[in-house]
C-alpha cells in the first residue's frame, strides 16, 4: 500500500504554467515553500479539484482521485481546505459553520468535541461569525475543515493575512494539531520561519516547478537554492531538553549523545527543534580555549561548495545531524579544509523553533 499522496499536474495559463510531479508523505506536515507566484496555491487548488482545466494524476494512498479517465468532483475529494481568508459562512453561527462539513462527511475521524477542544472554540460556538477576530475566524475555519474528516488537509498560508500578534496566537494551535492528529497536512507558505517551525517535509517551488523535495532537515541544506541561501542559509536539528538552568535562562539539549546549551528554559524531556544559521557557525582546527561561545562541538566535514564571490558553505556532520557553516574562501585555504576532516564547530547562536511532533 502506497504511503504517499502522489501528485502530477500540468496547468497552462497565459502568464503562468504549473508542472509538478511529487510524492507527498501521508503523515506529518509537508511544507510547500516558495515566493508568491511560484504556483503554490495553484498546486493546492489542483489537488482540491478547483482547477478544472488542470490535467494530471492524483492518488491519495491507494485511491486514484484523478487521472486520464476519472476526475472526482471537488465534493468527492476528502480534503480539508483552509484558505488564506477564513471564508466562513456569514449566515450561519460558529457551530453551524463547523458542522457544515461534518454533516456531509462519510466518516468521522475527528469528533466535534475533539476539534472544538483542539482549537479552543468552546466559548465561541454560539457567536455570529462577524463578531470574531481574524485569528478566531481562522481557527473556526480550521475546525470546519477538520470535521469534514479529510484524508489530507490543505492549508494555503492560513496565517499570512493575520498580524503578528494574531499569528503568534494561532501558531500554538497548529502545533497542537500536528501532535494530536494523524492526518497529513500540506502547508503552503512563503515564510521560512513558519515552515521551519511546523513542517516535517518540504517541497520548494520556483516558477511552477518543484526544485527540491524531501525531509526538511535535508532540504534546508540546499543552500544553492536562492530561497534557502543567503542570510537564511542554515540547518535544523531535532533534539531533546535534558536539563535546564533557570538562573541563567538556559536549557541543555541533547541529540545522539551530543550536548548543547540553548537560550530559554524548557521542560526536561521536551522535544525541541533548533535552527542554526550558517553565518553563526565558525570552524577551527583546535580547541579555541576560553571563549564567549558556549557551544563548541566536534564535527566532520561532509562537503564544501563555493558560495558567492568570497565565501564557501561547509556542510558538517554532528552526530546524525547536519549543520551548515559559512566561511570565507581564504579561511578554507588557511585551514586547508577538505571533506572528511574533523573540525570543531563553534556555534554562536541557536534558535529554538519548536517542539517537533512527538510519536511520529
Amino acid at each position: 500500500m502506497s504511503r504517499h499522496i502522489s501528485v502530477r499536474y500540468r496547468l497552462q495559463r497565459s502568464d503562468f504554467s504549473l508542472d509538478v510531479d511529487a510524492d507527498i508523505p501521508m503523515r506529518g506536515i509537508t511544507g510547500v515553500f516558495g515566493e508568491s507566484g511560484a504556483g503554490k496555491t495553484a498546486l493546492l487548488r489542483c489537488i482540491a479539484g478547483l482547477e478544472r482545466d488542470a490535467s494530471g494524476r492524483l492518488a491519495v494512498a491507494d485511491e486514484v482521485w484523478q487521472d486520464d479517465r476519472v476526475s472526482r468532483p471537488v465534493h468527492d475529494r476528502e480534503i480539508g481546505y483552509v484558505f488564506q481568508e477564513p471564508r466562513l459562512f456569514a449566515h450561519l453561527s460558529v457551530r453551524q459553520n463547523i458542522e457544515y462539513g461534518q454533516r456531509r462527511g462519510r466518516r468521522e475521524d475527528v469528533g466535534f468535541d475533539e476539534a472544538v477542544e483542539l482549537l479552543g472554540l468552546r466559548d465561541l460556538l454560539d457567536r455570529r461569525v462577524d463578531t470574531l477576530s481574524g485569528g478566531e475566524a481562522q481557527r473556526v475555519a480550521i475546525a470546519r475543515a477538520l470535521l469534514r474528516s479529510p484524508r489530507v488537509v490543505l492549508m494555503d498560508e492560513p496565517i499570512a493575512a493575520l498580524d503578528r500578534v494574531r499569528r503568534d496566537e494561532i501558531l500554538p494551535f497548529l502545533d497542537r494539531l500536528h501532535s494530536a492528529l494523524s492526518i497529513p497536512v500540506i502547508y503552503v507558505s512563503h515564510s521560512i520561519e513558519e515552515v521551519i517551525r511546523l513542517c516535517d517535509y518540504l517541497l520548494v517551488m520556483e516558477r511552477g516547478r518543484i526544485v527540491a523535495a524531501g525531509e526538511i532537515q535535508e532540504v534546508l541544506l540546499r543552500a544553492d537554492l536562492p530561497l534557502l541561501g543567503g542570510e537564511e542559509a542554515g540547518a535544523i536539528i531535532n533534539a531533546e531538553a535534558i536539563d535546564r538552568d533557570v538562573g541563567d535562562g538556559l536549557t541543555k539539549i541533547g541529540f545522539d549523545g551530543i550536548e548543547m546549551w540553548v537560550p530559554g528554559t524548557y521542560e526536561t524531556g521536551a522535544p525541541l527543534r533548533l535552527r542554526i544559521r550558517a553565518n553563526d557557525v565558525s570552524l577551527s582546527r583546535e580547541n579555541p580555549g576560553a571563549s564567549t561561545v558556549l557551544n563548541v562541538l566536534p564535527a566532520s566535514i561532509e562537503s564544501i561548495r563555493d558560495d558567492g564571490e568570497s565565501c564557501a558553505l561547509v556542510q558538517l556532520a554532528i552526530g546524525s545531524g547536519h549543520v551548515l557553516s559559512r566561511i570565507t574562501r581564504r579561511s578554507r585555504a588557511l585551514l586547508d579544509l577538505k571533506p572528511g576532516d574533523r573540525v570543531l564547530a563553534q556555534i554562536k547562536s541557536v534558535a529554538v523553533k519548536n517542539a517537533p511532533a512527538a510519536g511520529r
Binding site: 480539508g80 481546505y81 484558505f83 475555519a141
Partner: protein, 224 residues
C-alpha cells in the same frame, strides 16, 4: 366596491404568479450570467434588459403577434388547450414574465456577482455538491438580492399598463387589471372610482417598497 376589488385582486393575482415564475426561472439564468465566460453573455444580457428600454406598446405589439392564434406560441397553445392566449389571463401572465424579466434577473445577478466564488468554493471542499452549495450557501447569502428581485418584479407587474392593453384588453375578471380599470374610469369621467383605486395603489406600493428597504437593511446587517 366589487368593481374596485375585482381589478385589484386580479392585479395582485397576476403579480404574484408572475413573480413566482420569474424568481424560479430567473434564478438559474442570473446564476449562469454571473458565472459564465461565454461570448453569448453580453447578447443575453441585452435581451434581458430590452423591456426596460422598449415602450410597452412595442413589447405588447410583438407579444400580440407571437401569442396570437396565428403566432408561434399562440398556435401551439390553441392546439394544446383549445383556447386562445391573447385576451386571456394566461396570456397576461406570459406577457408579464417577459415584461418584468429584467427586474428579477438583474438584482439576482448583482447579488451573485457580489457573492463571488469564495464561500461556494469553501462549501464545495466541505463536501457539498454544486446544487447543495447553491441552496445552502449562495441563496441565503444572496437573500437581499432575492428580496429585491421579488419586490421589484411584483411591483413592476402591478404597474403594468401598455402591455396589458395590447395583449389583454379589458375583460372583467380575466384581463381587467387595476391600471386598465383606472384608465377606463378616467375615460368615462368617473373620477371618484379612479381616485379610490389610485389611492389604494399608491398606499400599497409605498408600503411594499418601504418594507423591502427595511428588510433589506436588516438582511445586510446580518450578512456583514
Amino acid at each position: 366596491m366589487a368593481s374596485t376589488l375585482g381589478p385589484l385582486l386580479l392585479s395582485l393575482q397576476l403579480a404574484a404568479l408572475t413573480t413566482v415564475i420569474l424568481v424560479v426561472l430567473g434564478t438559474p439564468l442570473a446564476w449562469w450570467l454571473s458565472r459564465t465566460q461565454s461570448r453569448l453573455k453580453p447578447a443575453i444580457q441585452a435581451v434581458v434588459a430590452l423591456p426596460i428600454v422598449l415602450p410597452p406598446t412595442v413589447m405588447g405589439f410583438y407579444l400580440l403577434i407571437v401569442l396570437g392564434p396565428y403566432g408561434a406560441i399562440g398556435q401551439w397553445w390553441v392546439k394544446v388547450s383549445g383556447e386562445a392566449l391573447t385576451f386571456s389571463f394566461t396570456g397576461l401572465v406570459i406577457a408579464s414574465c417577459f415584461y418584468s424579466l429584467p427586474f428579477a434577473v438583474q438584482p439576482l445577478q448583482s447579488a451573485f456577482d457580489a457573492l463571488g466564488r469564495q464561500e461556494v468554493e469553501a462549501a464545495r471542499t466541505l463536501g457539498a455538491s454544486e446544487l447543495d452549495a447553491f441552496f445552502t450557501i449562495a441563496v441565503p447569502l444572496s437573500a437581499p438580492g432575492f428580496l429585491t428581485a421579488t419586490v421589484l418584479s411584483f411591483a413592476h407587474t402591478l404597474g403594468e399598463f401598455g402591455v396589458v392593453l395590447m395583449v389583454g384588453g379589458n375583460i372583467p375578471g380575466e384581463t381587467r387589471v387595476v391600471s386598465i380599470a383606472i384608465y377606463d374610469h378616467v375615460e368615462s369621467l368617473d373620477y371618484a372610482s379612479a381616485h379610490q383605486m389610485s389611492i389604494i395603489l399608491v398606499v400599497f406600493a409605498f408600503a411594499v417598497l418601504l418594507s423591502m428597504f427595511l428588510a433589506n437593511r436588516r438582511l445586510e446587517r446580518r450578512s456583514r
